[in-house]
Symmetry: C2
């Protein structure tokens, strides 16, 4: 089996490629080779799987045809301009988040000849916009409050239509906000949700731009990879026209995040959080969903964390080499 | 005020242009000029309003910039490839129903300089797909069962985002199936809903490709024009992120259509209906919605017919010159 990962240099893309290279299989199939594509160089991975990396921009004509030429059986489409950037640069957002994915779908369609790969698309809960119920069900209309959410909702529609027409076998995975993101902050407006955990656990100050009663929907990077793998291997015959699934997650307030941080990092970690209200970020976050009843995805075998403490533990396990937890689960 | 009508040679476009030319006003504003655009020549209308017609294809680069150069305050975007044709010709459907409208939105956006026209977009209840509840509410997810419905749902998302960003002031009008369509049948799979009324009332045989218990959602051409005018003149400040509205209509079965036909045209009209099941049409129609609770649009002043008899009467009044109704409302 050949696997193509577009957006392989991103945080989730890297972790996905790492897991696939380590597993050497995807579901019941042995992975013969992986092609990792991004606009910056994806990391080359150790492991038995043959990995090729390409630095390329799917916005450019012909690139999509090139990367699908070997007819990968599974395509992960994870490339995106994040929410903050898509809001600031309108044209870039549409070019990267909509047009590049459409090029990919068209490249696959025009191969013809019975080629019908599984296409796993990383969508987002940003497809929903206010006013919405406190708990959002699977049949809620997508009325995005950002250009990023709009672009994701449009690709969901394309994914469903191309699947219905038999050009692809698509699954859209509406990721919760991924938390705790390792490494340097990116330009996503949601970055602080990770920052308030990550920075203090690394002895650095964290800036909190919203009030502590803000509630949001989370899953760990490890859960995100699990979702993508599940979407790549699941039986899609039950999806019907609804090819995109809201992923399960943990609904938590910033206060609950901080309580989980305190249980792991103690008061000295919490003391590193500095409130610095940011009007623009508060307005964007205020338009984001707070909780979901993701029963369709749950019934189809998608599993997230059960509480925010578990999300923090995943970060400590996967990202922090030095410190170890004591008997009470504290650093 | 300047008004631009794209798709002005279509059935609804013609009737809209005719009404606007007759009224000479749109809401409180006097119409100084109208620009009618279509791929075939729109009819030139009598009346006091200065009317210019252009035969042009918005799929071609530059055309959208040309037709918006005079900065019309109101733009009606009615151009579309119908459902049956968009299903048969995948590429044409996306080119006309998605890309051409995107060209229009981009042409308006790149004018800049505070230009922010009202854009009224004719969407469709085909944005919904099964399984859905018997009566569909305003917050139902758009999960189209056709490429046509997909293209409409995508443009709805663009319309909302371009409005939110302040580039346009958009309103999407989800039209019911328009019935009774005058004139020759078009390639829409829904054509028979009109045909079973129109053809017998004109002494011709009508072919019915689906079973008589099929239920669907209807409004007259006159109501469609009323919806578009309302959308062009309404206060949009209450719409928020939800720029597209499901229009009110009449939920009726083919049996109920035929009963209404009998009351107007008698048994001899009904006898002209010939059942000739068509598998492909039956499958498409089976995936269409049957009834709506369109309370948002109703609260915003959109008014349809109250029963199918009224829909038939509108056809007789507006389209049949010769025959007149007797005292019992029969031809």
């Amino acid at each position: 089996m050949q696997v193509l990962v577009i957006g392989a240099a991103g945080m989730v893309g890297r972790k996905l490629a790492q897991r696939l290279a380590g597993d050497g299989v995807l579901g019941a199939e042995v992975i013969d080779s992986m092609l990792l594509v991004d606009v910056v160089s994806p990391t080359v991975l150790p492991g038995g799987v043959r990995v090729e990396t390409v630095v390329s921009d799917l916005c450019e004509l012909g690139v999509a045809c090139g990367v699908t030429a070997a007819r990968p059986e599974v395509i992960f489409d994870l490339a995106a301009v994040v929410s903050g950037e898509a809001e600031i640069d309108f044209e870039k957002g549409y070019r990267v988040n909509l047009d590049a994915t459409r090029h990919l779908l068209e490249a696959v369609r025009t191969v013809g000849d019975g080629y019908r790969p599984r296409v796993v698309f990383s969508s987002s809960v940003a497809v929903f916009g206010p006013p919405f119920p406190d708990v959002i069900g699977d049949e809620q209309a997508t009325t995005p409050a950002t250009s990023y959410g709009t672009q994701k909702a449009i690709v969901e529609l394309l994914l469903a239509d191309y699947s219905r027409r038999g050009f692809i076998d698509g699954v859209g995975v509406r990721l919760p906000t991924i938390c705790v993101r390792p490494g340097a902050p990116n330009r996503a407006a949601s970055g602080f949700f990770s920052g308030v955990i990550r920075e203090p656990l690394n002895g650095r100050e964290a800036v909190l731009p919203v009030s502590r009663d803000v509630r949001h929907w989370f899953a760990s990077p490890r859960a995100a990879v699990r979702f993508l793998v599940r979407a790549a291997t699941m039986d899609t015959s039950e999806l019907g026209l609804r090819r995109s699934l809201t992923m399960p997650g943990v609904s938590a307030t910033v206060d609950e995040e901080i309580a989980a941080l305190r249980r792991v990092g103690g008061d000295q970690a919490v003391a590193l959080i500095r409130d610095e209200p940011d009007e623009m970020i508060a307005r964007m976050v205020g338009s984001w969903p707070r909780a979901f009843d993701a029963r369709r995805a749950a019934a189809l075998g998608f599993v997230a964390e059960t509480d925010f403490d578990e999300i923090v533990r995943v970060y400590v396990d996967d990202e922090l080499d030095g410190p170890t937890l004591d008997g009470q689960g504290r650093l």
